[in-house]
């Protein structure tokens, strides 16, 4: 083993099927991490950001989805990146620190000096090189990516306080009731292998307390953590909070975009953010066209090579069209995600919407959302294999899979 080699591994936390219910009806068909944003699976964006890490020897995906659900993606991305990618399946949820700890032996096989830990459901530019430089400079056991948000929305996230000069994490609290700070945790970390010791300490301490509790029912009633199993360790409450102010954790602030992808509406917003990032990282993925030989393209648009888009259509801004989709003559697409095998027929309009796999939108039909990413019905969602018949209008609605709409609907959830 050559210590001087500054090896890194990356771990992407992908969660499991009992998580992400807010992502319905889209998560009925595909694990949320594989839902395409800007034409690529959600998890692909953090993974491809890892390409910038020098001496990256392994990428691990940790989650509790069935292995076969990720098999195809994992093999294709491994050969694309020329870095081995492995899916590690937890038998049950362990929390993000617990999940990491479960697979500590595998992760440490390559003797990495750094472990990058990325959450799959955050959307950002993943500035990993800058973060790594800072991490080495700080010399702590961990560095976390942080971002400033508007004070009113900070309480949906982990709020934290950092030393303005040393960038040390001074205080950390998850989703507080009262305002602590407008600086929040982005869910992207770099740790040294010492993180495993920190997780082990929490786990051991909890085990001791659990033993104690058998003799003290009074304490058992009082304790908020009584139901947590000893191998369930959360990163935020159990590791970050106690280690804050102990010169072990540091912060690295990003001024780029950052969003959390909890709902279908947010996935549309994030698809747009990633499309915009392609301008700088992979401009070849963006479609071009002036409406003569190919469709008129406005702003950032991704069109899968197998999709058939009629030259009389007008597409964009923020449109992503997946494999084998067919977009008929004179159709208009604005701010939308069109998934595999969808057919949009002649003169139809789709705006502020997600059109599910194998769905069809009829001639002169209109599938439209208001465009409010944060409200429940702000983006119109058609689940898998939904048929919108000719001339029907679907506004601000969510349609569950396999429905046929022959009359117009507005502000409805169609079961």
């Amino acid at each position: 083993m050559v210590i001087s080699q500054d090896r890194s591994v990356a771990v992407i936390m992908v969660g499991g099927p009992t998580k992400g219910t807010r992502f319905r009806p889209l998560s009925f068909n595909v694990p949320k991490p594989l839902f395409p944003l800007a034409g690529q699976p959600m998890v692909h964006h953090p993974i491809s950001a890892c390409k910038s890490i020098s001496n990256l020897v392994q990428i691990y995906l940790i989650g509790f989805y069935e292995e076969r659900e990720f098999a195809l993606y994992v093999s294709s991305i491994s050969s694309e990146l020329k870095v081995p990618v492995r899916y590690l399946r937890e038998d049950k949820p362990h929390g993000s620190a617990g999940g990491l700890y479960t697979f500590r032996d595998i992760i440490m096989e390559e003797s990495p000096l750094q472990i990058f830990l990325l959450n799959c459901d955050v959307c950002c530019s993943f500035p990993l090189t800058g973060m790594l430089e800072a991490h080495k400079r700080y010399g702590g056991i961990g560095t976390m990516l942080v971002s400033k948000v508007v004070a009113e929305s900070a309480n949906q996230f982990g709020e934290l306080v950092a030393d303005p000069d040393t960038k040390e994490l001074l205080h950390y609290t998850e989703k507080p009731e009262t305002f602590v700070s407008d600086l929040i945790n982005c869910g992207v970390y770099i740790f040294t292998p010492d993180i495993f010791t920190a997780i082990q300490d929490v786990s051991m301490h909890r085990k001791d307390r659990a033993n104690l509790r058998r003799v003290s029912s009074f304490e058992a009633l009082q304790s908020a953590t009584k139901s947590l199993p000893t191998d369930f360790v959360r990163l935020d409450q159990d590791i970050l909070s106690p280690l804050a102010g102990k010169r072990q954790l540091y912060t690295y602030e990003t001024v780029d975009f950052w969003e959390q992808i909890k709902t279908p509406g947010m996935s549309l917003k994030c698809s747009g953010l990633y499309l915009n990032q392609y301008r700088y990282t992979s401009p070849h993925l963006l479609a071009v066209g002036d409406g003569t030989k190919s469709a008129a393209v406005i702003g950032n648009v991704y069109i899968h090579p197998s999709a058939k888009v009629h030259p009389t259509t007008k597409i964009g801004p923020n449109v992503s069209i997946s494999a084998n989709a067919r977009i008929g003559a004179g159709a208009r697409l604005i701010n939308c995600i069109v998934l595999d095998d969808v057919e949009i027929k002649e003169n139809a309009v789709v705006m502020h919407a997600i059109v599910g796999w194998k769905s069809s939108v009829g001639k002169w039909s209109r599938v439209q959302g208001e465009g409010d990413y944060d409200s429940k019905l702000g983006i119109t969602i058609l689940g898998e294999a939904v048929t919108v018949e000719d001339e029907v209008v679907v506004i601000n609605s969510i349609v569950l899979p396999n429905k046929v709409l022959n009359i117009s609907v507005q502000e409805e959830i169609i079961l």
Binding site: A329, G330, R366, V393
Partner: protein
């Protein structure tokens, strides 16, 4: 033979269209409403039409001057200075209507559209020898109207029952009368209702007769009924002179297109559509159950149903206009905008979607 057309006032029920033109000049099936009546009168030999009007007579007259010569019919106005109801205008126009010939004259309500079987009405009038004839039409919900109770075999009218609570019959006044000059003697020059004050007296003397109007009848004084009226009118046109209706692979059902209008490739038009003079329908447009008035432009891939597009308005590319959307004159709906029942006053631009019926001032 002479005729009086009761035009009346501001036509507020048909706003925003009537903010630009007096109601009789609002186009219906590609020509001003009142021309439907004037042409029907001319066709059976009426030589002079008097318009009973209390609003903008200059506009009406200057417009109708062209038609006077074109149709060879004399058109004059009788202007009320105060509203005189449905009978008062007859007294006001007395000198124009009565010339000593003792010939009966027609009275038509300008809000009503029908097949105008006026020759049959003349025959009916002569056959019964009474003082006044009126047309009645059957309706589904008679309780909303004044119901006429009559002898079905002779047509003799027994009584008028205004908005009956209990069913007394389903025949209502269709607003088309043929009256002997003597009827005018029964009317004083003051606000008077012909249905409530004049006809009941004639009926009491057993001199009022009613015939059931064959074919369709519609009061098109408000947008919903205007759109229904167009369907009935085009349906009747199909039976009577179907050559006036468009045909072709892009046409569905009854469609009336002015010869100066143009329709692009890949459109689907109909049923029940009227496209007025000079309109431009660009490629890939879908129109159903709607009226597109003179000079309007519907841009590519737009879709319009159950709506009225006012004069010189434009509807943008990929726009969707439906559910009783009424665009006044010179209204511009932006590209990709959706209007669900928007009622838009003249000279407005609509840049964002109207998701639920509302009035845009």
């Amino acid at each position: 033979m002479k005729a009086l057309i009761l035009v009346g006032g501001f036509g507020t029920r048909l706003r925003p269209l009537t903010l630009s033109f007096p109601k009789p000049l609002v186009d219906f099936a590609n020509k001003p409403m009142i021309l439907h009546q004037i042409e029907a009168l001319k066709a059976i030999g009426v030589t002079e039409v008097v318009l009973a009007i209390n609003y903008q007579p200059e506009v009406m007259l200057s417009f109708l001057k062209d038609f006077e010569t074109k149709l060879g019919i004399k058109i004059t106005c009788s202007q009320e200075t105060e509203p005189l109801g449905t009978a008062g205008p007859l007294a006001l126009a007395r000198d124009k209507l009565i010339d000593g010939s003792d010939e009966p004259f027609f009275v038509l309500n300008s809000d009503v559209i029908s097949e105008y079987p006026l020759n049959e009405m003349i025959k009916f009038h002569k056959s019964h020898g009474g003082e006044a004839s009126l047309m009645v039409t059957k309706v589904d919900e008679p309780s909303k109207y004044g119901v006429i109770v009559m002898d079905d075999s002779t047509g003799k009218v027994e009584k008028f029952v205004e908005k009956p609570k209990v069913f007394v019959g389903n025949k209502i006044n269709a607003g088309i009368y043929l009256l002997n000059p003597s009827v005018v003697d029964r009317i004083e020059l003051k606000p008077t209702s012909i249905e409530k004050e004049v006809f009941p007296k004639i009926a009491a003397e057993q001199k009022l007769f009613a015939m059931v109007l064959p074919g369709f009848w519609m009061d098109i004084g408000q947008p919903r009924d205007y759109i229904t009226g167009l369907r009935l009118y085009l349906n009747s046109l199909r039976k009577k002179s179907s050559s006036k209706l468009s045909t072709g692979p892009h046409i569905v059902g009854n469609v009336l297109v002015d010869e100066s209008a143009s329709i692009g490739e890949g459109c689907l038009i109909g049923p029940d559509v009227a496209i007025g003079p000079g309109c431009v329908i660009e490629p890939g447009v879908r129109l159903s159950r709607c009226t597109v008035m003179r000079g309007a432009r519907i841009k590519r891939h737009a879709c319009i149903s159950s709506s009225i597009i006012g004069w010189h308005s434009t509807v943008g590319k990929w726009a969707r206009v439906e559910n009783m959307t009424i665009l006044g004159e010179d209204v511009h709906v932006g590209d990709e905008v959706y209007s669900n029942g928007g009622v838009v006053l003249p000279h407005k631009s609509i840049k964002s979607s109207i998701l639920n019926p509302e009035i845009v001032m």
